[in-house]
């Protein structure tokens, strides 16, 4: 019995280890390419670590490119998007969870519909609508569009969060609810941040410097650092928050 248990434990740890390795190896490769000098990029492409590591790509990206500006813009856009999405979707999620009203199912249907078509379909019409308002090529326009894209899923999450709090406990929950709400904010925020942070900055970056892969990877790693740190800090709230919503069954 104890031997069987020992074998099972070892197998379990090995499986976890395999998952960790699978999750991390591509990230390691990203890092490896970003510190490989351009001259060694192809000759030592397959080595696990270049014979000579250098920070030349990082130096270039930080000083000779518009990456810092893109990065700043991305940060502004994702931070404002996250804040607005959190406020707006918690209001709607609250309404969906606490009220019985006609038209509720239409709203749910509407929110689901927004998840079903390729967003590419919207780009041309959206451009046509936003350009007379002067919102194309502006950060404000970007924030509005991102908020709209992220709000449906966030509303569902918020609804299940409010569903998880017993209604008759509402007043009492206000006191200890503050902490639960904080935890919840920590879910919506990262979700939105993740979805919006870089695509913009990195895409424009790539179209400008698509020749040099080392620099591209360096930009990628730089952009990833804050996202990964943030995600590492909040991921446990993610599971907790979803559990809180699911408990009532």
């Amino acid at each position: 019995m104890t031997r069987k248990r020992l074998i099972l434990t070892v197998l379990h740890r090995l499986a976890v280890l395999a998952y960790v390795a699978f999750a991390l190896f591509p990230l390691f490769w990203l890092l490896k390419v970003s510190v490989t000098p351009t001259s060694l990029l192809y000759t030592e492409g397959v080595r696990l670590w270049p014979s000579q590591a250098s920070l030349e790509h990082y130096k270039f990206v930080l000083t000779h490119s518009s990456f810092p500006t893109f990065f700043l813009n991305s940060t502004i856009v994702s931070a404002s998007t996250a804040v607005i999405v959190t406020i707006v979707s918690s209001l709607a999620g609250y309404a969906m969870s606490r009220f019985v009203f006609r038209g509720k199912y239409w709203i749910v249907g509407l929110l689901l519909l927004t998840q079903m078509f390729p967003l590419v379909m919207l780009i041309a019409p959206m451009f046509k609508m936003l350009s007379p308002l002067g919102l194309t090529n502006s950060l404000t326009g970007l924030v509005i569009v991102y908020v709209a894209f992220n709000v449906p899923f966030a509303t569902f999450l918020m609804q299940s969060f409010f569903d998880g709090i017993p209604k008759d406990l509402e007043d009492a929950a206000m006191i200890d609810g503050a902490t639960r709400f904080t935890a919840f904010r920590q879910i919506i925020l990262p979700l939105t941040l993740k979805a919006t942070t870089f695509p913009v900055g990195l895409l424009s970056f790539v179209s400008k410097f698509s020749v040099d892969f080392g620099q591209m990877m360096a930009a990628g790693v730089l952009a990833l650092i804050p996202a990964c740190l943030f995600f590492l800090l909040i991921q446990r709230y993610l599971v907790q928050g979803l559990t809180a919503g699911a408990v009532k069954g």
């Binding site: 960790v20 707006v88 993610l238």
Partner: protein
């Protein structure tokens, strides 16, 4: 709710009437910002996009814009590339969802056991989710390349490949590239939702079953599976629709090639819109995809309903 209003005394003063209106309006006030945003930013452009499907809309061509009726759809019916893309979409979507789900569920079960360093292992295993899809695509394309990536050499060493070559340039295997990248990227989503559902199962159920002499497999079958089923159904449905529309990895890694073997409907729409700048045709394809996905979702919802009512 209407009945309570009808039962209210007819001689109620104006103040309560006002209050009644306020009560009725309250949920709408809360929902208003979301509704306005979705209608203005998604539904109006969607309606416009649907109308484009029946018009000749080509960017950079000022003379386009005329109404062409069902021309795009007739063209679509005879478009071999579109039919190929439909088959590829099925292949891409179902292999991605099944693999993501299976590996995600296994990871959730592994992480549901208490062990030393679990918090760290969980954080690291979920990390791929924080990587933007675009960057994941680049990274995996890089790793599959025999000049700058290790994977072909590993496959060669294992005897799976006769020589280190790029699976992304071989029409027979190219689709596996984006699928592997998608599985890597999507495992955390299923693992997070499944782990949350697992942790919501009352522990005493397992204890009771163990006392009754149920083995681990029996316990998994009779407690874990029924408890997870609702979460599984919803997350698989949403994920299927989402992945069918998800073209980022394919566009970055293979651009639909070689020989259209990795072209899915979503990436085909992208190609039509941004390479040929034919937004009319692109919208027609998108409309067909939307109808197919709606039909699929209805089917799943009806199936679920009948299964629930049978119980």
């Amino acid at each position: 709710m209407t009945s309570t209003h009808a039962a209210a005394p007819p001689n109620g003063d104006r103040r309560t009437a006002k209050q009644k209106i306020a009560v009725r309006l309250e949920p709408w006030l809360y929902s208003a910002p979301v509704l306005i945003l979705i209608v203005a930013i998604m539904l109006v452009p969607l309606a416009l996009g649907v109308s484009y499907a029946f018009r000749d809309i080509r960017l950079l061509n000022p003379f386009s814009g005329a109404f062409v009726g069902l021309k795009h759809f007739r063209e679509l019916a005879g478009d071999g590339a579109f039919r190929g893309a439909l088959v590829n979409t099925l292949w891409w979507t179902f292999s991605s969802v099944i693999l993501q789900f299976l590996f995600g569920l296994i990871l959730a079960l592994l992480l549901n056991q208490p062990f030393k360093g679990r918090a760290l292992a969980q954080a690291l295993c979920f990390l791929p989710w924080a990587v933007p899809s675009f960057l994941s695509g680049l990274d995996w394309a890089w790793m599959f390349n025999p000049v700058v990536g290790p994977i072909p050499h590993w496959l060669y060493a294992l005897g799976i490949m006769s020589e280190p070559s790029n699976i992304l340039s071989d029409p027979e295997t190219a689709m596996w590239g984006p699928i592997v990248a998608n599985v890597w990227w999507g495992i955390p989503f299923f693992a997070i939702t499944m782990l949350a559902a697992l942790q919501a199962i009352p522990k005493d159920l397992y204890e009771a079953a163990e006392i009754d002499g149920a083995g681990p497999i029996e316990r998994f079958r009779s407690i874990t599976v029924p408890f997870l089923a609702p979460t599984m159904a919803i997350s698989i449905l949403l994920r299927t629709v989402w992945i069918a529309n998800f073209a980022d990895l394919i566009i970055v890694m293979t651009n639909g090639g070689p020989a259209d073997r990795t072209q899915i409907v979503a990436s085909y729409i992208f190609t039509q819109a941004f390479r040929r700048l034919d937004f009319g045709y692109a919208s027609a394809i998108a409309l067909v995809l939307l109808v197919l996905l709606l039909a699929y979702s209805m089917l799943i919802v009806i199936l679920r309903q009948t299964m629930l009512s049978r119980h």
